[in-house]
Amino acid sequence: MHTDPELLALLALGEPIAEDERQHAETCLECAAELADLRRVVTLGRSVEVEPVMASPGAAVWASIRAELGFGAAAESAADPASTAEADHELTAHARLTPVGTSWSHASGTAELATDDRGRRVLQVALRADLPTTGVRQAWLVHRDDPTLRQSLGILDGPHGLWTVAHSIDLAEFAILDISQQGTGETEHSGQTIVRGEFTLVS
């Protein structure tokens, strides 16, 4: 009988497994080949000490591609398809959040603005970062032309944030979503931005 696939994975990761299982895995041609493949993946995965930071092209790139290929309104949504799966919620804008400074270079996040069935604008934020145990993370909408103009959205609960956004805030102007590390009780933006990103409106 072949070695259990999950044991092969654990063996590839360097975990000890039962001696008879290990012997089979290394002598059976089929299992040994699979083990070698998985080991290569593990080696590669571990060789990446610092995961390279992913970034997204500006919204103008997709517009240029559409224009160059002569697409009309048919292919309007280049939004992350994951975001459109939300039932009853119509996605209206999204943003990919990327780190600003070097101290949070591993952080990333997403923000999705949708309209719920009562017409409210619901903003959902997911932050991926090694969060410090001190202070809080606060989300802000920042004016695209004047970064001193900011609206506070609120405090994230762990890596998640969920707020409604008043219709009086024009997201074409307050188009930048910013998440900052804040001291507890601090009311002004600390200047320590973890991630930020610009909203792309889904037309």
């Binding site: 696939p5 999950e6 092969l8 994975a9 654990l10 590839a12 990761l13 360097g14 975990e15 041609l29 089929e30 040994a32 080949a33 699979e34 070698a36 493949d37 998985l38 290569r40 993946v41 593990v42 590669l44 995965g45 571990r46 990446v48 995961e51 390279p52 930071v53 992913m54 970034a55 997204s56 092209p57 500006g58 103008a60 790139v61 997709w62 240029s64 591609i65 160059e68 290929l69 697409f71 048919a74 292919a75 309007e76 949504s77 280049a78 939004a79 992350d80 398809p81 994951a82 799966a85 990919r96 990333s108 997403t110 997911a126 991926r128």
Partner: protein, 182 residues
């Protein structure tokens, strides 16, 4: 972030058939990877955006040459990206003396391919669901055993082992590690 729609066979088939919406989905799923490779190699936002545009318009016009039997759409897009990045470097370095170009060009090509592989790996991990993603990171980067991960996360050890197995298989598929001959 758990979906992989830009890589689904139905989307890939629609893309090959000339469905503009499929290109939009492919772009939505893969443009961050294409752009990130170009940005890391070229180090310039404008150049990276130009490459991204060239890759996706090029992918569209040459979509018939993509053969799903020979590899994944992601691997094909990565190769197109590396080609366009190499072009951009040649265009940029045209003033460099010809004698110096050959060795550095080879080294640059190897470095770009290596970077692309690391970014593809990071992209694949980032698109796993939150729980398997966390478990896999703990096993790869924190060198924890599945039992230690189970203790720290509160998940059953069998669940952790299953996540690790599926995560590694997913990475292998995406990195297109060819099964060894046997």
């Amino acid at each position: 972030m758990g979906t992989q729609q830009g890589d689904l066979p139905t989307v890939t088939a629609a893309f090959r058939a000339g469905d503009a919406q499929a290109l939009a989905e492919v772009y939505g799923r893969w443009s961050p990877l294409v752009y990130s490779i170009a940005l890391h190699v070229l180090g310039d936002v404008t150049d990276a955006e130009d490459v991204t545009q060239q890759v996706f318009t090029g992918a569209w016009t040459s979509r018939q040459t993509f053969d799903p039997a020979r590899g994944r759409l992601s691997a094909w897009l990565v190769q197109l990206t590396l080609d366009r990045v190499a072009d951009a470097r040649v265009a940029r370095g045209s003033q460099t003396p010809a004698t110096a170009v050959s060795t550095t060009a080879l080294e640059d090509t190897a470095r770009a391919a290596d970077l692309a592989e690391r970014l593809l790996l990071a992209d694949t991990v980032a698109h796993l669901d939150a729980e398997p993603q966390q478990v896999l990171r703990m096993a790869l980067h924190d060198d924890l055993t599945h039992v230690q991960i189970a203790e720290r996360t509160g998940l059953p050890a069998t669940t952790v082992a299953g996540h690790l197995r599926r995560g590694l298989v997913k990475l292998r598929q995406r990195l297109e590690v060819q099964p060894s001959a046997h």
